[in-house]
Protein backbone atom coordinates (compact mmCIF):
# COMPACT_ATOMS: atom_id res chain seq x y z
CA UNK A 1 0.00 0.00 0.00
CA UNK A 2 1.10 3.55 -0.57
CA UNK A 3 0.50 6.65 1.51
CA UNK A 4 0.80 9.88 -0.44
CA UNK A 5 0.74 13.52 0.61
CA UNK A 6 2.74 13.07 3.81
CA UNK A 7 5.38 15.51 5.01
CA UNK A 8 7.91 12.81 4.15
CA UNK A 9 6.74 12.13 0.61
CA UNK A 10 5.28 8.84 -0.50
CA UNK A 11 5.44 5.99 2.01
CA UNK A 12 5.22 2.33 1.11
CA UNK A 13 3.77 0.16 3.82
CA UNK A 14 2.18 -3.20 4.44
CA UNK A 15 -0.66 -4.16 6.77
CA UNK A 16 1.80 -5.39 9.40
CA UNK A 17 3.41 -1.93 9.55
CA UNK A 18 0.24 -0.36 10.93
CA UNK A 19 -0.02 0.42 14.63
CA UNK A 20 -3.60 0.54 15.88
CA UNK A 21 -4.60 3.03 18.60
CA UNK A 22 -8.09 1.96 19.62
CA UNK A 23 -8.63 5.22 21.52
CA UNK A 24 -6.74 7.42 19.10
CA UNK A 25 -4.23 9.99 20.29
CA UNK A 26 -5.45 12.28 23.08
CA UNK A 27 -7.14 15.22 21.38
CA UNK A 28 -7.24 13.30 18.08
CA UNK A 29 -9.63 10.43 18.92
CA UNK A 30 -10.40 9.62 15.30
CA UNK A 31 -6.78 8.97 14.34
CA UNK A 32 -6.34 5.28 15.07
CA UNK A 33 -3.95 3.98 12.43
CA UNK A 34 -0.31 4.98 12.33
CA UNK A 35 2.97 3.95 10.79
CA UNK A 36 6.04 4.37 12.97
CA UNK A 37 8.93 5.93 11.03
CA UNK A 38 12.48 6.44 12.23
CA UNK A 39 13.85 9.95 11.84
CA UNK A 40 17.30 8.58 10.88
CA UNK A 41 19.22 5.38 11.48
CA UNK A 42 20.29 5.14 15.14
CA UNK A 43 18.19 8.17 16.08
CA UNK A 44 15.94 8.06 19.16
CA UNK A 45 13.39 10.15 17.25
CA UNK A 46 10.35 8.61 15.58
CA UNK A 47 7.39 9.92 13.64
CA UNK A 48 3.93 8.57 14.27
CA UNK A 49 2.58 9.05 10.79
CA UNK A 50 -1.21 8.98 10.52
CA UNK A 51 -2.53 6.64 7.86
CA UNK A 52 -5.93 8.31 7.81
CA UNK A 53 -4.65 11.91 7.64
CA UNK A 54 -1.40 11.85 5.63
CA UNK A 55 -0.69 15.48 6.54
CA UNK A 56 -0.43 14.65 10.25
CA UNK A 57 2.62 13.12 11.95
CA UNK A 58 3.52 13.34 15.63
CA UNK A 59 7.15 13.66 16.65
CA UNK A 60 8.06 11.08 19.31
CA UNK A 61 11.20 9.81 21.04
CA UNK A 62 12.42 6.81 22.92
CA UNK A 63 12.35 8.76 26.20
CA UNK A 64 15.08 6.82 27.99
CA UNK A 65 17.57 8.25 25.52
CA UNK A 66 17.14 11.63 27.22
CA UNK A 67 15.76 10.59 30.61
CA UNK A 68 17.53 7.31 31.46
CA UNK A 69 15.61 6.66 34.68
CA UNK A 70 12.18 7.31 33.16
CA UNK A 71 10.00 4.48 34.32
CA UNK A 72 6.27 5.09 33.83
CA UNK A 73 4.02 2.87 35.89
CA UNK A 74 1.91 0.55 33.79
CA UNK A 75 -1.39 0.07 35.53
CA UNK A 76 -3.39 -3.08 35.30
CA UNK A 77 -5.92 -1.33 33.07
CA UNK A 78 -3.22 -0.26 30.58
CA UNK A 79 -1.58 -3.69 30.47
CA UNK A 80 -4.93 -5.37 30.03
CA UNK A 81 -6.11 -2.98 27.35
CA UNK A 82 -3.01 -3.75 25.26
CA UNK A 83 -3.12 -7.48 25.99
CA UNK A 84 0.42 -7.37 27.34
CA UNK A 85 1.76 -10.47 29.00
CA UNK A 86 5.08 -11.08 30.67
CA UNK A 87 6.91 -12.01 27.49
CA UNK A 88 5.18 -9.56 25.15
CA UNK A 89 7.64 -7.38 23.30
CA UNK A 90 6.76 -3.77 24.15
CA UNK A 91 8.26 -0.29 24.23
CA UNK A 92 7.40 3.21 25.38
CA UNK A 93 7.44 6.43 23.37
CA UNK A 94 6.69 9.97 24.40
CA UNK A 95 5.75 12.87 22.19
CA UNK A 96 8.38 15.56 21.67
CA UNK A 97 7.69 19.22 20.96
CA UNK A 98 10.25 21.48 19.38
CA UNK A 99 9.35 25.15 18.98
CA UNK A 100 10.04 26.27 15.41
CA UNK A 101 13.75 26.90 14.95
CA UNK A 102 14.57 26.31 18.62
CA UNK A 103 15.76 22.72 19.10
CA UNK A 104 17.33 23.52 22.47
CA UNK A 105 13.83 24.24 23.81
CA UNK A 106 12.60 20.76 23.03
CA UNK A 107 10.27 19.27 25.64
CA UNK A 108 8.99 15.74 26.16
CA UNK A 109 5.56 14.90 27.48
CA UNK A 110 6.52 12.44 30.21
CA UNK A 111 3.05 12.62 31.78
CA UNK A 112 1.30 10.87 28.89
CA UNK A 113 3.49 8.13 27.42
CA UNK A 114 2.55 5.87 24.53
CA UNK A 115 2.88 2.15 25.18
CA UNK A 116 3.25 -0.12 22.17
CA UNK A 117 2.58 -3.84 22.08
CA UNK A 118 5.08 -4.54 19.33
CA UNK A 119 3.87 -8.01 18.52
CA UNK A 120 0.16 -7.21 18.52
CA UNK A 121 0.74 -3.86 16.75
CA UNK A 122 -1.58 -2.09 19.19
CA UNK A 123 -0.80 1.02 21.20
CA UNK A 124 -2.27 3.40 23.74
CA UNK A 125 -1.47 6.89 24.98
CA UNK A 126 -2.28 7.01 28.68
CA UNK A 127 -2.04 9.54 31.49
CA UNK A 128 0.20 8.78 34.46
CA UNK A 129 -1.21 9.24 37.91
CA UNK A 130 2.28 9.97 39.20
CA UNK A 131 2.50 13.74 39.22
CA UNK A 132 6.31 13.61 39.32
CA UNK A 133 6.34 13.60 35.51
CA UNK A 134 5.38 16.75 33.64
CA UNK A 135 3.82 17.35 30.24
CA UNK A 136 6.70 19.69 29.37
CA UNK A 137 9.92 18.07 30.48
CA UNK A 138 12.75 20.29 29.31
CA UNK A 139 15.53 18.13 27.84
CA UNK A 140 18.36 20.60 27.50
CA UNK A 141 19.16 22.91 30.41
CA UNK A 142 17.96 26.45 29.87
CA UNK A 143 20.65 28.64 28.40
CA UNK A 144 22.07 31.08 30.89
CA UNK A 145 23.48 34.39 29.77
CA UNK A 146 24.55 34.34 26.13
CA UNK A 147 28.27 33.96 25.68
CA UNK A 148 29.99 37.24 25.14
CA UNK A 149 27.21 39.20 26.79
CA UNK A 150 28.19 38.33 30.34
CA UNK A 151 30.85 40.33 32.24
Amino acid sequence: MKLTGTRFGEIDFGPTDVLFFKEGIIGFPLLQEFILLSHKDDSPFRWLQSVQEPGIAFLCVIPQHFVPDYNPELTHAVVESLKIEEDTERFVLTTASIPKGEPTKMTLNLAAPILVNARGRIALQFVLEDEAYTVKHRVFPEAKVKEGVAA
Binding site: I26, H39, F58, N109, V135, F140
Partner: protein
Protein backbone atom coordinates in the same frame (compact mmCIF):
# COMPACT_ATOMS: atom_id res chain seq x y z
CA UNK B 1 -25.70 21.82 31.54
CA UNK B 2 -27.56 19.72 34.04
CA UNK B 3 -27.08 21.13 37.55
CA UNK B 4 -27.67 18.98 40.64
CA UNK B 5 -27.19 19.75 44.33
CA UNK B 6 -25.57 17.00 46.39
CA UNK B 7 -24.60 16.67 50.04
CA UNK B 8 -21.59 14.96 51.54
CA UNK B 9 -21.48 11.23 50.71
CA UNK B 10 -24.28 11.56 48.19
CA UNK B 11 -23.56 10.62 44.61
CA UNK B 12 -24.74 10.83 41.05
CA UNK B 13 -24.90 8.02 38.55
CA UNK B 14 -24.06 8.56 34.89
CA UNK B 15 -25.29 5.98 32.42
CA UNK B 16 -24.95 2.39 33.39
CA UNK B 17 -21.61 2.11 35.09
CA UNK B 18 -20.33 5.48 36.30
CA UNK B 19 -20.81 6.90 39.78
CA UNK B 20 -19.41 10.12 41.21
CA UNK B 21 -19.46 10.50 45.02
CA UNK B 22 -18.80 13.63 47.08
CA UNK B 23 -16.22 12.43 49.62
CA UNK B 24 -15.20 15.63 51.32
CA UNK B 25 -15.99 19.34 51.19
CA UNK B 26 -13.45 21.67 52.74
CA UNK B 27 -13.61 25.36 51.94
CA UNK B 28 -13.07 25.71 48.20
CA UNK B 29 -11.97 22.11 47.74
CA UNK B 30 -14.21 19.20 46.92
CA UNK B 31 -12.92 15.63 46.87
CA UNK B 32 -14.74 13.35 44.50
CA UNK B 33 -14.65 9.61 44.21
CA UNK B 34 -15.26 8.19 40.76
CA UNK B 35 -16.30 4.64 40.02
CA UNK B 36 -16.13 3.85 36.34
CA UNK B 37 -15.51 0.85 34.11
CA UNK B 38 -11.84 0.26 33.31
CA UNK B 39 -12.26 1.31 29.71
CA UNK B 40 -13.48 4.79 30.72
CA UNK B 41 -10.55 7.16 31.16
CA UNK B 42 -11.02 9.82 33.84
CA UNK B 43 -8.78 12.88 33.81
CA UNK B 44 -8.37 16.21 35.53
CA UNK B 45 -9.51 18.56 32.81
CA UNK B 46 -6.54 20.94 32.94
CA UNK B 47 -4.08 18.03 32.58
CA UNK B 48 -6.10 16.61 29.72
CA UNK B 49 -6.05 19.95 27.92
CA UNK B 50 -2.29 20.28 28.41
CA UNK B 51 -1.77 16.84 26.88
CA UNK B 52 -3.94 17.74 23.89
CA UNK B 53 -1.84 20.86 23.45
CA UNK B 54 1.43 18.88 23.67
CA UNK B 55 0.20 16.40 21.09
CA UNK B 56 -0.67 19.28 18.80
CA UNK B 57 2.81 20.77 19.31
CA UNK B 58 4.40 17.39 18.57
CA UNK B 59 2.52 17.33 15.25
CA UNK B 60 3.80 20.82 14.45
CA UNK B 61 7.46 20.03 15.17
CA UNK B 62 9.66 20.13 12.07
CA UNK B 63 12.18 17.49 10.95
CA UNK B 64 14.80 20.18 10.33
CA UNK B 65 14.63 21.23 13.99
CA UNK B 66 15.37 17.77 15.40
CA UNK B 67 18.65 17.91 17.34
CA UNK B 68 21.41 15.40 16.68
CA UNK B 69 21.26 12.91 19.48
Amino acid sequence: MLVLTRKLHQSIVIGDGIEVVVLEVRGEQVRLGIKAPKNVAVHRKEIYEQIQQENKSASESRPEDIPDA
